[in-house]
């Protein structure tokens, strides 16, 4: 094993821990907030829908990099300063929850209208219809795209490197930096290849799970 591998591997591994934690926090927060917002988007009230719609359009419309830069560099100027990890988590959650809301809305609205109408004919109120008829069916339909979004969000954590969070990508970049400046070769292929490999190994099972759910749905 070449001598450069040891220090690089341990440094990148510590970055991986940060990535895992960021992914966990962002995913959970996005799912929770997204489910709430997505359900709100199906309410009869136009005002509620409009407010949530603005949130969704803004945080889905902006590139995540711009959101991260804004939270990290701009908010402190008006007094809101958070550390790098929190900035990354908040930024990813804003984006993730907006997308999750869309996914949930789509799932709820894909339940055939006949179901809701039949339930209404049987005397269910709107909350009752949602709880006993619509949401259970929507949950099955939401799983494939939800898992897809989880995979996507896990990958998007790598963007936190642009605000300097020491995640797996930033750690590998700094290792390549150190190796380059100390006069040797960059070893970019094996290092970046390893990062790609780690993400692949983590995300592939989740993608397969999503596809399995999708097949069960049909």
């Amino acid at each position: 094993m070449p001598p450069w591998v040891g220090p690089v591997a341990s440094y990148v591994a510590s970055g991986l821990r940060t990535t895992a934690l960021l992914a966990l926090v962002s995913v959970v927060a996005s799912v929770v907030v997204g489910v709430v917002l997505g359900t709100l988007l199906t309410l009869p009230s136009r005002v509620v829908r409009a407010v949530v719609r603005v949130y969704v359009e803004v945080w889905r419309g902006l590139p995540i990099i711009v959101i991260l830069f804004f939270i990290f560099f701009v908010l402190p100027i008006i007094g809101i300063r958070v550390d790098t990890f929190t900035a990354a988590a908040v930024g990813l959650t804003l984006w993730g929850s907006a997308n999750m809301a869309e996914v949930v809305r789509g799932a709820v609205q894909s339940v055939p209208r006949g179901q809701g109408e039949a339930a209404a004919a049987l005397g269910f109120s709107w909350p009752g219809r949602m709880r006993h008829v619509i949401l259970p069916q929507a949950t099955r339909r939401v799983l494939p795209p939800l898992i897809g979004l989880v995979v996507n969000l896990t990958q998007q954590t790598s963007l936190a490197a642009v605000i300097g969070l020491l995640d797996v990508l930033e750690a590998s970049q700094r290792s390549i930096e150190r190796l380059t400046l100390s006069g040797g070769s960059t070893h970019a292929v094996p290092i970046l290849g390893a990062v790609l490999g780690v993400f692949f190994v983590v995300c592939l099972p989740l993608t397969m799970l999503s596809r399995w759910f999708e097949r069960r749905l049909r």
Binding site: P7, Y11, R17, T18, L21, L24, V25, V28, A29, V31, V32, F72, F73, V74, L75, P76, I77, R81, D83, T84, F85, T86, A89, P136, T139, I163, G164, L165, L166, Q173, R174, I176, E177, R178, L179, T180, L181, S182, G183, T186, A188
Partner: protein, 308 residues
């Protein structure tokens, strides 16, 4: 179905709580405050001016330093910040708290160092920053502590020996660096290929993405020493002293840092550390006049440093 939902929701809540408990301390946006283990003095050193409140309340000196600029600010194999500027940083921390490791170092680049300062993520920039009139409009500069000019790093067989030969060609530069500012102002026909990190620029040069890498002579000499196929050419442009940066109007910080720098100069701290950092005696002599020593004080130029 309902119970499954309930389990999902409670599991999610537990995870959020657990993650929240453990995510509190993982803000790692900088190298560890390490380097040489300086002997901890008995207590803080009085430099004649009180330590600013913002520094005292942090408990550490929050500084932005370079992590890609050997031998002044870089990261060694043990992932520790090292270099001449880092030594100065440790000394500043020792003056403030009596502990040279009371430092929170953040890696900054030419493009984001001021943003880090204005967003109060750091209180002091010590990042190989040349004084320019334009920069002085946004931040306040301390007394100078070194100097550099812009030169070119080229491949030995490329045939480039001066700035005039760059006309109409691609030149690699670093975003926000003095070299980039000077080229933008004085050689508009040069196509700048910008990068944020030195290693990216160096790799780009070896891949012939540009005919030269324009940066501070202090950095280029170190890179050329480690790469036999590269050499430094050109006469120094935009020669200007380095200063540390504080937020505009932060008078308490400015006066404390200036007093601390004066204290270091009187103790000949800069030269002692410089000799340990730059061991080549010819290079030492070349830069000796830029190191503050008793009897050798640097000053900022009164006119613009960006003359073509």
């Amino acid at each position: 179905m309902r119970s499954r939902f309930a389990i999902l929701v409670s599991a999610a809540t537990l995870l959020v709580v657990a993650a929240g408990c453990s995510s509190g301390n993982s803000s790692g946006s900088g190298g560890a405050a390490g380097g040489e283990t300086a002997s901890a003095a008995a207590g803080p050193v009085d430099v004649g001016v009180p330590v600013p409140d913002e520094v005292k309340s942090r408990g550490k000196l929050a500084m932005g330093v370079k992590c890609d600029y050997p031998p002044f600010g870089y990261v060694d194999e043990a992932q520790k910040n090292s270099g001449w500027e880092i030594d100065i940083a440790h000394e500043l921390a020792r003056y403030a708290f009596g502990d040279p490791n009371a430092l929170a170092l953040t890696c900054v680049t030419g493009s984001n160092r001021v943003s880090f300062l204005t967003s109060s993520r750091i209180d002091l920039i010590e990042a190989t920053m040349n004084y320019t009139v334009e920069r002085a409009q946004t931040i306040d500069f301390t007394t100078p502590y070194f100097d550099s000019g812009v030169k070119l790093l080229v491949q030995k067989n490329a045939g480039i020996t001066s700035f005039d030969q760059l006309a109409g060609k691609s030149v690699i530069t670093i975003t926000g660096a003095t070299a980039s500012l000077w080229l933008t102002q004085c050689m508009k026909d040069v196509k700048q290929v910008l990068f944020t990190e030195t290693s990216q620029a160096l790799t780009a040069l070896s891949q012939n993405r540009g005919v030269a890498f324009a940066q501070d002579d202090t950095l280029l000499l170190d890179l050329a020493a480690k790469n036999q196929s590269l050499q430094v050419v050109g006469d120094a442009k935009a020669d200007s002293p380095w200063g540390m940066g504080v937020r505009k109007g932060d008078a308490s910080m400015l006066s404390w840092v200036n007093a601390a720098l004066a204290h270091m100069q009187a103790a000949d701290f800069f030269w002692t550390r410089f000799q340990k950092t730059v061991t080549d005696s010819t290079v030492q002599q070349q830069f000796a006049k830029y190191v503050p020593r008793p009897g050798n004080t640097l000053t900022y130029p009164t006119s613009s440093t960006m003359s073509c």
